[in-house]
Symmetry: C3
Subunit: 358 residues, 3 copies
């Protein structure tokens, strides 16, 4: 699928920037946010491969854009005939957070929430993951995606993984592996409504590498990185509700000592949506409020970040191949790093996204 | 398709270089000029996707080559059932100039003319384009390509676009969008001959970015960037003729003030060719003369460039999957930028290209 | 195919590093060593194309990884109907050494031997190659791969090539082309056993480019680069044996004069293996000993390198789509360059690789 965005409408503060979307703010325009091709298939009754490059990536240090970079490159090795027990080897999504698992193709808001996404920016890492789900629940996970209910796909009822921990497309930088575990179960009520509570946690060591530092006066190094999160999803049949919250510890820029320290972090979001079918067309209005306060480990000096954001929008799908999403964003962000000790920005903007599915 | 080149035969001046082809001149050899794969198709009766990465691209700042970078990533959204009205969203060719629209797979000379190509190097940009052509003319555009008459493909009888303006695979660098309009009509004479006159123009702001500057004594900044061009194509049935000319204004290095100034530019080309069918083989001898004087906005310091060039060559297509092109180039180029205040090079060379179509 | 590795088991010396595999040694973890997609086919009865990007490549100077870069992009143009005489144009393997020709998918040890691979790191270059093999022998080359006998594929009984010589994905840096010739014949004995002796040699000029130098006190420049090698392969039916050795000259860091000099180099390897079929599963234990002393032209300051290494391992293929290889490596490496004048490392480690074939 491909997503093309324009974010400059009704913009009240051009200094407002976002790490999620480089086309928010001053001196920006149209952006190809994602351009992804999937090569996948069963190469054996027990082996499923999935290779997904993104064609809108930029090598670090390059001023030219739109290079092809891996998102996923993994293999599911089924341990039993019914494929209830699987080992996933390679670069794939780390099972932490419902919205992180959900494809951007299915997500309503243009960007993920800061609170849980800051745990695994790009959502992926390199390692070995074990997933288990009963056949019946695997079918339910599949149904939640194929019927347009904005499911996460099948990351098991139970998932357990060991991975590098420096996030996707970054080389390992320490001698420690991250460990993650997740439990999530989609309950089908008698009314037909499906509700999915989930819980997940990870622990490991993250290394703030020299290329992340604003100057040679700040030191990186290896920090403990651990979080625990709860999730609750009520699928939109037709009214839906979704909330997640996490707490933890990790590296964070401290403006008082001008250094990176191990600090606590917390935050989450709540979202309501309503799925409306008008003839063959689908219309989903939504509202989401999010909050996060803590470090962003992969950013400059493990930047301190405090975010309050409200998004009100609607996704319109006139034909299955094409979606138009528009959202009005009211945002209030404070960041602190070695380059900008206290950068507080408040502003509103209207954002547009055209998405083509294939 | 893939193009492999060797340019060092009968070379009279190894200091002669070209921005179009990095394998011209001293210390060069074989070159993969283009290696392109196309992923395209109708994903819905109203939606056509086209994704074309090039596998012979280099990230800026990298000494290793042959990375995959997007050329095209767009979607045609048809507004009517006959697909006469289309919106094209994403990165695609900017409708400015016939030769710019023509695929390199179909072009006779190894490189495009400087005069019109300097308007949109790489021919593409990111934005939204509207195209209109009557069904009958859409079929004619298609016929001109599929019958080997070296057509441009279908960029509408009328085209109108809004785009970033920093050229393909570069992020937007100002708050202004470029606007382009084009009108081009392939007239079928009673004799069967097809003649296509065209006119096009664009206007916008181009920002000379810091990574384009030769030193910190030269300042970039945002400049007006506008041009108007006329085109005339007589398709080779069997004798063909093609000419284009444009004038405009844009950023240009000025060696007197050692700064970049807004200056006028002008130039064009004329080309004659003859399509010869010998049994199943095709042979097309051609001659082209081109002239350009003006700035090259995307190059070092928006380099001043004056080019006189004559190309005499022949394209030989023994089988549809394979073409061999050879051309003798007589060139006279003067460039001026902060690194070389007056670089005048004259020389001849014989160039070879093997092209594989798939 | 995709290969995922973990190399940190039973590691005795974390300072031990390898140019072949960046996940050996301190501060490393899981690694995607190769992720390759092949686009190939006959686009005409006389034209075969082969395009293979690798999705686990890193642009020089980038701290982010997993970008798509070309490995192969070539075309076979058959000169006769039986395809006994072929011209291969583009970037492809340089016919020098049996193990270099053998795909990593088929090789038993996790990395190639230093002695012959240092002649053409990445095994490929850009140029034109001529291959000849009788139809009967072409079928035998094919049989040796498809029947799991770990053949090299068809690089002709006789091969002759002209190529840039700076190795794959590097631009040409001098005015000289490399020339290579190879002769290799798979003899079928009456017993059914197949034995393939081979001989190969190349000559050219290699330029040590500025980006390869450790400081501006060391000078690069253009050096003669030539080698000759002998090969002998006894295919595993079920017992196999394989040995290669080469001598030559090339650029090499000299710690006495702190400069790069033209020096001699020599080295080779011997390997024994046994192919065991247990029901539908395949098990191949192997042992390999290798030695090399000489320069590594593409590395920092054309680094001096002396390697003694023994590898003992087993490849297990429970299903055709999945292979697990494990090897215990005993290694003794001395390297000398401008940054580390005498770096001597000795150590053992256990390496694991999961490979998925598709």
């Amino acid at each position: 699928y491909v997503q093309v965005r324009y974010n400059r409408l009704l913009e009240t503060n051009p200094s407002l920037k976002s790490e999620h979307d480089k086309s928010i703010g001053d001196k920006t325009g149209f952006l190809i946010r994602r351009a992804r091709l999937v090569f996948s298939g069963n190469v054996h009754e027990r082996v499923f491969i999935y290779i997904q490059p993104d064609l809108a990536s930029t090598p670090s240090g390059s001023s030219t854009i739109h290079f092809a970079q891996l998102r996923d490159a993994y293999f599911d090795l089924s341990l039993d005939k019914k494929k209830e027990f699987r080992l996933r080897v390679g670069q794939s999504k780390v099972p932490y957070g419902f919205e992180n698992m959900q494809s951007s193709q299915n997500r309503l808001t243009l960007d993920r929430n800061d609170a849980l996404n800051s745990a695994v920016p790009n959502e992926r890492d390199l390692g070995v993951f074990f997933y288990w789900a009963p056949d019946k629940i695997r079918k339910r996970f599949s149904y939640l995606v194929s019927n347009g209910l904005k499911g996460s796909g099948d990351y098991g009822v139970f998932g357990l993984g060991i991975y590098n921990g420096q996030t996707a497309n970054k080389p390992e930088a320490n001698n420690n592996q991250h460990v993650v575990a997740r439990f999530s179960y989609p309950l089908a009520l008698k009314s037909g409504q499906i509700i999915e509570p989930g819980i997940q946690a990870y622990n490991g060591s993250y290394t703030v590498t020299p290329d992340q530092l604003s100057s040679n006066k700040i030191f990186g190094g290896t920090f403990n990185d651990r979080r625990v999160a709860g999730s609750l999803v009520v699928y939109p049949q037709p009214f839906g509700f979704q909330t997640e919250y996490n707490i933890g510890k990790g590296p964070q820029y401290d403006p008082e000592t001008l250094s990176i320290q191990l600090k606590t972090l917390k935050g989450g979001y709540a979202q309501a949506m309503y799925l409306l079918k008008v003839k063959d067309q689908i219309l989903i209005p939504f509202v989401k409020a999010q909050y996060y306060e803590g470090g962003k480990k992969t950013e400059l000096d493990a930047r301190y970040s405090k975010t309050y954001e409200t998004e009100i929008g609607v996704e319109w799908q006139p034909i299955p191949a094409f979606e138009l999403a528009t959202q009005y964003t009211i945002t209030n962000r404070t960041t602190k790093d070695g380059r900008a000790l206290n950068n507080h920005q408040f502003g509103n903007l209207l954002r547009l996204q055209a998405q083509f599915n294939f």
